[in-house]
Amino acid sequence: MLSNLWEQVINLSLFAVLLRVTVPILLSALGGLISDLAGVINIGLEGLMLISAFASIAVGSLTGSWVLGVVAGIAASVLISLAMGFFTLRLKVNIIIAGFAVNIFGSGVTVFLLNVLFGATGNYNPSDLDKIPTVIIPGIESIPVVGKLLSGHNLMVWVALLAVLFCYYMLYRTPYGGHLRSIGEAPDAARSLGIPVERVQYSALMWSGVFTGLAGSYLSMGMTSMFVKDMTAGTGFLALAVVVFGNRNPLGVFFGALIFGLATAVTTMIETTAGSGVPSQFVKMIPYIVTIVALVILALRKHRKQLAMSGAGA
């Protein structure tokens, strides 16, 4: 089993799997991150992603264009996050209740619309879907290692990687990012400077919608080409964990998602290896246990650093 795993590391197929499974978590975690930094924690990632997955494939298959599909997915997800903003910022509904409401709503409305639009129950897989394309880099493709590393990934993989940089620059290098972070950290200070707190929080939720929307599109039109009810299966909650785990910054979130993705990829390998003998339930625990262990290690290291600094350790 181990040798098998090693083989896959060497021939880089594990790398491709890693990228594939990391993307939805990473994108939705970035979405969660932005709203979290603006002080509006978004528990509704799961629902947003589901809604976007549905809207993407619905529009994508009706129009025959993946671009329109992705746009629709983002639009739907943004729309719902703005509604979430309306409830929490205007009507002062608790943001966590609103988040759960979005999750429940997303699960219900997709199944409902599936039926209304396609007369389908539970799932939909159009046969001639225009999927989000795979990026083949000509020339590089045939170079041994580099080719496999860089070429042949879904466009959304690159989008996700760019999204990390985008978020980093937006949050830390633009005035808007400063406003957003100041609101999360010291809303009264921001307000006293005339920064429109609610409006920025709306926009943060909107960004949440954009990135989660991308994640949803990828699920239904990149990773697979179908919609299955509740197909997000907890990804939104994992993303939420990754936000915290990633120390609430884009790079941390990136590494957090990678760790989680790696654990998932390795788990997939083990789950498809004959005769591993370990009960499937325990194999499935691996990513969760890895996350907890990593969380503790990170926390301890941070703590030790503080102790070392204060000289009170030893």
Partner: protein, 356 residues
């Protein structure tokens, strides 16, 4: 007198929101149903229409009381645990082991023993994120979310491989628990089971604990201002652990009561999100045990109403759920509780000037 009119305005706002919620819901029903009136009536009134339906509401309310309390307690301590789901499973599991495999005790001994084991199971499972948070500074949102997955998987493993009733067919469950050791119906023909009384008793205990004992005082202070609590000599780490453990105990109790009252044995995947519903309940209740009663009832009422509407009319299930969600949103909008509290303070102070 200005206050009076401001309050009236506020009240109008709340009533308005409720009406808006109901109106939007009904509008959707109107669009989708060929029998909108029956649907609306079914949703609003059928839960009270007969003892059977009302009993069903109470049964749905019972586990929500436990998980709502569980989360109210940790939230009061300022710990954002999302772990009730996992703790509920573990509690149900440990309790069920005693329920199924310990025989020959009178129910008066057996049931308390079962409950105790469930409490212990849930509490121990709560100990993990508690210790991780207090002593390792590991964020509780992450750890509890992960532990939920681990708990359901772990319980599922034991259920499927170790403690399965061989006759359980396609879905694993334990052997059925002896009838005497179950929480039966307390009125013949009325479906509510006596777990409700355990739940209400627990509400009272948690209320007293939080507001009338030193531990409750400590829990609340830590949640409100940890710096102050630390300064006052309160051992914050212990209080944090205690609150999560207590929360786990309550969730575990909720799990076993559901097993003893509804299922009669531990079934694989028997709870779908009771722990998460508890989060909503606790937040709706502003983390107050008595509020949990109101919120759980409301939530259970909405769910049963939705199910009855689906059963009695052509409104599809998803739509019923969407309407429920809308109602929850609108009701928690406008901060009914804040309004009530405010009205109380104004009544007490009379809205007078600050001259001292």
């Amino acid at each position: 007198m200005k206050n009076r009119s401001e309050l009236t305005l506020e009240l109008t706002g709340i009533v308005g929101a409720a009406i808006a919620a109901v109106a939007i819901g009904f509008l959707v029903i109107l669009c989708i149903s060929t029998e909108p009136l029956t649907a609306i009536q079914s949703f609003l009134f059928d839960p009270f229409a007969n003892p059977f339906n009302f009993g069903t509401v109470l049964n749905k309310m019972t586990p929500l009381l436990f998980t709502g309390l569980a989360l109210a307690v940790v939230f009061q301590a300022g710990v954002f645990s999302m772990g009730a789901e996992g703790q509920l499973y573990v509690g149900a599991f440990t309790g069920s082991l005693v329920a199924v495999y310990v025989h020959g005790l009178s129910a008066w001994v057996h049931i308390p023993l079962i409950l105790l084991c469930a409490v212990l199971g849930g509490a121990l499972y709560g100990l993990i994120p508690g210790v991780l948070k207090a002593y390792f500074r590991a964020d509780e949102i992450v750890s509890t979310l992960m532990l939920n997955f681990i708990a359901t998987l772990g319980v599922s493993y034991f259920l499927n491989n170790v403690f399965k009733d061989p006759t359980s067919g396609g879905y694993a469950r334990m052997n059925f628990i002896d009838k005497e050791s179950l929480l039966g119906k307390f009125i013949d023909g009325f479906p509510a089971h006596s777990g409700l009384f355990i739940a209400l008793g627990t509400v009272a205990i948690v209320y007293l604990l939080l507001y009338k004992t030193r531990w409750g005082y400590e829990i609340r202070l830590v949640g409100k201002n940890a710096l102050f609590a630390e300064y006052g000599g309160i051992r914050i780490k212990r209080v944090v652990v205690l609150s999560v453990v207590l929360s786990g105990a309550l969730a575990g109790l909720g799990g076993i009561v559901e097993v003893l009252g509804i299922h009669g044995t531990l079934k694989d995947n028997f709870s779908v999100g009771l722990g998460f519903d508890g989060i909503i309940i606790a937040l709706l209740a502003r983390n107050h045990p008595l509020g949990v009663v109101v919120a759980s009832f409301f939530y259970a009422y909405l769910q049963v109403g939705g199910q009855l509407m689906q059963a009695n009319t052509d409104v599809p299930r998803e739509l019923a759920i969407i309407i429920q969600v809308l109602l929850v949103l609108f009701v928690s909008a406008q901060a009914v509780f804040a309004y009530l509290r405010q009205r109380k303070t104004v009544r007490v102070t009379g809205g007078v000037d600050v001259a001292q």
